[in-house]
């Protein structure tokens, strides 16, 4: 794949074909005709992708770590930071050893042909074989593409951690995530962004920056984990407020700014698509935050900062799959809708169904991801100001494609997550002992305290 010497489609030179492809699959477009000779490298595109990689890593550490860390009780704050940090380390190793290959090795794929390679990559690129200093993907070094994609593989499991915060064993978490990254993340990533022959791609599913791959995928695993682990002790009778909303707001802010790497970076270039992705990301996020604030203001009498930042994250999630396909007005619509729907997801749904998704990983990422994936099918339409649907699609057929993408992700993710969790449970147990939970995971699992005040 990346070995083809055809430079024709690199950069913004063949703008229309480029647009067409991006509209379909974002990242995937770039995988097809990548040129391996150095002359195809564009320093501007590379500069932006180096930056985007930094931004997406920044989303997890410290962004998500703070967003989640502020929401738990003080006695568990380090356990949350630890999960984010340890996942960053472990997933990095998995990714370069085999993960990248399972996700992006295209050996055996052919447009329109459904075979094993439509679902998961091979091991040709294990240990990053062939990823030398000169290898390119599109107009950027493949090393950068590997690292950029790695940051997505990192944040996805870290998002899941919100569901079982304050009660899961660290060892069980690590084991679960190692398997999940391999057996769930890599295949879904491959189906969506593997290029011609990949399952979602061939169906014309639009997922520019990871609505299915990252958010629905994480959200559904989160839901399964929350249910399997059971509620935190004392929940919901004795609810304890977040120990530091200051940290949470800082984390949310970092997620917002980092997300430009996530969405605009998914253009894999510094061009008009990236620019529009940045603009619609900003717009949808603002709209969702604003919507959540208003709904809450009306419903509870006062607007809260936890509300508005959660709304912002909901908007960021929902615009993710759409950020390469919609225009600013579509972004407003997606933002407003996702803000309202996720408000319901995090406030009503959870309490009605009675599971304890500690930090609303499903309520925000799962729900927001599904809303976004479906609305992408609507607002990508040129009549609604979008960049156009995938080739030969109507809004109806596009919606159907989007639905298939969502459904497969949900079903595959739920089943696999369930199985892996059950296995890990049998093997080492998922949950800490009661007294460990009472003392807090920081002391129990890590023998440390988040804040120490000299007495």
């Amino acid at each position: 794949m990346h070995g083809s010497p055809d430079p024709v489609t690199t950069g913004h030179r063949s703008r229309s074909r480029f647009r067409r492809a991006l509209v379909m699959l974002g990242l995937a477009a770039w995988l097809i005709p990548g040129a391996a000779h150095a002359d195809g490298l564009d320093s501007g595109d590379t500069a932006w992708m180096l930056t985007s990689t930094v931004l997406v890593l920044f989303m997890t550490i410290p962004g998500l770590a703070l967003f989640y860390g502020g929401l738990v009780r003080a006695k568990n704050v380090l356990s949350v930071l630890m999960q984010c940090f340890a996942l960053t380390s472990m997933v990095t190793l998995i990714w370069i050893l085999w993960g990248y290959s399972l996700a992006f090795d295209t050996t055996g794929m052919e447009a329109g042909v459904l075979n094993l390679s439509s679902f998961v990559g091979g091991l040709e690129k294990a240990l990053l074989r062939g990823v030398g200093i000169d290898a390119l993907v599109g107009t950027i070094p493949e090393t950068v593409f590997v690292t950029f994609q790695l940051t997505f593989a990192i944040i996805t499991p870290a998002l899941i951690a919100g569901a079982f915060a304050e009660r899961m064993k660290f060892s069980a978490m690590m084991l679960f995530m190692a398997i999940w990254s391999t057996l769930v993340y890599a295949p879904i990533c491959h189906m969506a962004w593997g290029g011609d022959g990949a399952f979602f791609w061939d169906k014309g599913v639009l997922d520019f920056a990871g609505g299915t791959v990252v958010h629905i995928n994480a959200g559904i695993a989160a839901l399964v984990a929350a249910i399997l682990l059971g509620k935190r002790r004392g929940y919901p009778e004795t609810l304890i407020p977040p120990h530091s909303l200051v940290l949470t707001v800082v984390g949310a802010s970092m997620l917002w700014v980092g997300w430009f790497g996530f969405n605009a970076g998914s253009a894999l270039a510094a061009n008009g698509t990236a620019g529009m992705a940045m603009l619609v990301t900003q717009v949808a996020t603002a709209a969702a935050a604003f919507a959540w604030m208003l709904v809450e203001w009306v419903k509870h009498g006062k607007p809260s900062v936890l509300g508005i930042v959660t709304g912002a994250v909901a908007g960021l999630v929902a615009i993710t799959p759409a950020s390469g396909s919609v225009g600013p007005m579509g972004a407003i619509a997606i933002g407003l809708i996702s803000g309202c729907v996720c408000f319901l997801g995090a406030t009503s749904l959870k309490h009605k169904l009675g599971y304890d998704d500690s930090l609303d990983a499903f309520g925000v990422h799962g729900v927001g991801g599904i809303v976004g994936a479906l609305l992408t099918g609507v607002f990508a339409g040129e009549s609604l100001g979008g960049q156009g649907l995938a080739e030969g699609m109507t809004i109806g057929s596009q919606l159907a494609a989007q639905f298939v993408g969502v459904l497969v992700t949900v079903v595959y993710g739920a089943v696999m997550s369930y199985i892996i969790l059950k296995l890990v449970d049998g093997f080492i147990g998922l949950r800490v002992a009661e007294d460990e939970e009472d003392r807090g995971l920081d002391i129990s699992l890590h023998n440390e305290q988040g804040y120490y005040s000299e007495v």
Binding site: L239, I240, G307
Partner: protein, 112 residues
Amino acid sequence: MKLLKCIVRPSALEKVKEALSALGVMGMTVSEVKGYGRQKGHKEVYRGAEYNIDFTPKLEIEVVVGEAIAERAIDAIKEAATTGNIGDGKIFVLPVDQVVRIRTGEMGDSAI
């Protein structure tokens, strides 16, 4: 000697301090506490979930005074800390057997 253990609103500190100074009481020890009483807590809503915040922030001001001025000190504190609303707090008066000034070893009234 008496220990006046006063549970008051945080906003009353400055006034209580002044009222005591006016009486010549120049020492006190303050700590942050949480109070539970007739004044009900409130509900906070985080992502739709209601959290009952039963405890209200209060300050505990501890002052040791000689018998002689205990009454007047109590009155002064009462006046300084009252707003008339539920939750103004209490003064608990406890007997003190002895007071020692660590620096000098002085004891009794002169050590206060």
